[in-house]
Symmetry: C2
Subunit: 324 residues, 2 copies
């Protein structure tokens, strides 16, 4: 990375596209602009237009022109073929199979463009500008409807042999446990994601457990992970038990990730991490209780993400910096 | 690695020291010599003498002299401080705490010397000259009294932030399961190592289960993992069940390692892998059954190690090649 290099990061989210420019030299990295463009239609042309529009706006907002941008990266959910820079599929955009997005954007913007998995990008963002700034090895869990994961080692995203590394939500924590969307049983995602936390709470209510959450379920017909955290914070025993369960499975996941990649830090990100201290404290408690008794056992820390929804966009910019 | 470079690998085993010279250029790697020196006394001086003696003999057997050796690496069990190149401790050598073995040997042999964890070295050996030659990302389990692990990514050992990466035997496969020597509950090592396989078989016999293993236990007062595999091969139902259990837990471990590092190949090494096809087939069966339904799920293969007891020594030589 040369001094005064500018990188454009684009995050392809579920309801909008976010773009931002990061200025980066070896010692200093700064976010110069952030633009969010909603993608109401969620079809191919709408999303492509939003990406290009947000990209141009972010560059303009940074008082730069496209030729000032060294490289561009788009963080995208779903499987990406890193060799061909093609998005294989998307869970939530129409006609979005086998999209050669790298080529489409480098043609449209005139700058070298690469793709990165969104959770990997978020991990790279937290590593460079967020919770992991002091780490050399860091793992991130993005706790949303599922659990995404990213591992960064010495500034490099761990991609594995086929681009499927750091699928941390699919580490099995309960053998023959709850069915996961991936087809495995007992994945961390099937217990500790926002959706699974809600499912476990709803099942307990359906089974007749008393809880202040019962009224919320009656009023809103469904719960949110925020409901569970809020009611746990207010001392509802069932909500506490459900959230503590999520924390327990996240601690098991953290221990397993630690055993494989030995990070200084496991970072909890994504929507459910907004539960904040009540979740963090519980994950740390279980991690400590379940941890091995070897020298240095306490050298792996659990922390909350700090970049919020900007992590993927910032990390995409940092991934763009890798290609130059 | 320049053409015609020679590297000396030394493997500090439980009853002997093995040393060998590997010639390596970019395309061709060959083991030129192997020397094993028993370490009867297992105290510090005896082991140091054996290391230096085996090193000199291996070089001589290769028709080389020490100045021809580019670098040396010792594969050692137990914790190593990679920064200071000090062996922190050893489970089975007297007076072997905080040994600056890197410095001792580079002084004695006059060649640059580094240390590497023995399972990491074995993984590097299988990666370069063994089962993993076709892989870019490979994981190895060494199935012995415990379960060691090594992960190699693009020819580099995954060390993690504190040198504790790839402690694959301590991935938890059963929450709140059997107590492991590390203090955690439910580690793969507590179920699928040779010792744990024996323990599970012995417990079943003690609980009155009928088996042809009962006579072996009466005759020899204890079982071996080979007994369990042999009797499983002959169709004893309990032995089959116990070995299949070990395979099941190894499949869970393989899936979890796959989710984190996405290797092309998981290699089963160590003494218990000599059970051979009966174990391999069972691990593959469970892996396939428990695997996710995502595209490319079958791209991670399970294979047997091929270098036997030479893996650590050969891998140590390849680790020596990394420092030059």
């Amino acid at each position: 990375m040369a001094k005064d290099s500018f990188y454009l990061g684009i995050d392809l989210g579920a309801t909008s596209v976010k773009a931002g420019v990061v200025s980066a030299d070896k010692d200093d990295k700064k976010l110069l602009s952030t633009v969010a463009v909603p993608t109401a239609q969620r079809n191919r042309q709408d999303v492509l237009d939003a990406i290009i529009h947000s990209a141009r706006q972010a560059v303009e907002q940074s008082h730069l022109a496209l030729p000032d941008i060294t490289a561009v990266c788009v963080a995208s959910p779903g499987p990406i073929d890193l060799e061909t820079q093609v998005i294989c599929d998307s869970p939530n955009i129409e006609d979005w199979q086998n999209v050669p997005l790298g080529k489409i954007l480098s043609d449209a913007l005139g700058r070298p463009t690469v793709l990165e998995n969104d959770a990997n990008a978020a991990a790279l963002g937290e590593f460079h500008l967020g919770a992991g700034r002091s780490a050399t090895v860091m793992a991130l869990f993005t706790l949303g409807s599922g659990i995404g994961g990213g591992v960064v080692i010495d500034g490099q995203v761990l991609h594995g042999a086929h681009g499927f590394a750091a699928e941390l939500g699919h580490v099995i924590v309960v053998p023959d446990g709850r069915l996961c969307g991936c087809g495995q049983h007992g994945c961390a995602e099937a217990y500790a994601s926002a959706n699974s936390t809600i499912a476990r709470a709803t099942e307990a209510l359906d089974a007749g457990r008393a809880s202040s959450l019962a009224q919320v379920l009656r009023d809103n017909t469904q719960l949110t992970a925020k409901d569970v955290a809020d009611h746990a914070r207010r001392g509802d025993p069932l909500a506490e038990e459900i959230l503590d369960g999520s924390a327990y499975y996240l601690a098991l996941l953290s221990l397993n990730v630690r055993a494989v990649v030995d990070p200084q830090m496991v970072v909890l990100g994504g929507g459910m991490s907004h539960a904040g201290d009540i979740l963090l404290t519980a994950v740390r408690k279980h991690f400590k209780r379940l941890n091995w008794h070897l020298q240095g056992a306490d050298r792996c820390r659990i922390e909350l993400a700090v970049l919020g929804n900007d992590a993927g966009m910032i990390g995409a910019a940092m991934a763009a910096a890798k290609i130059t």
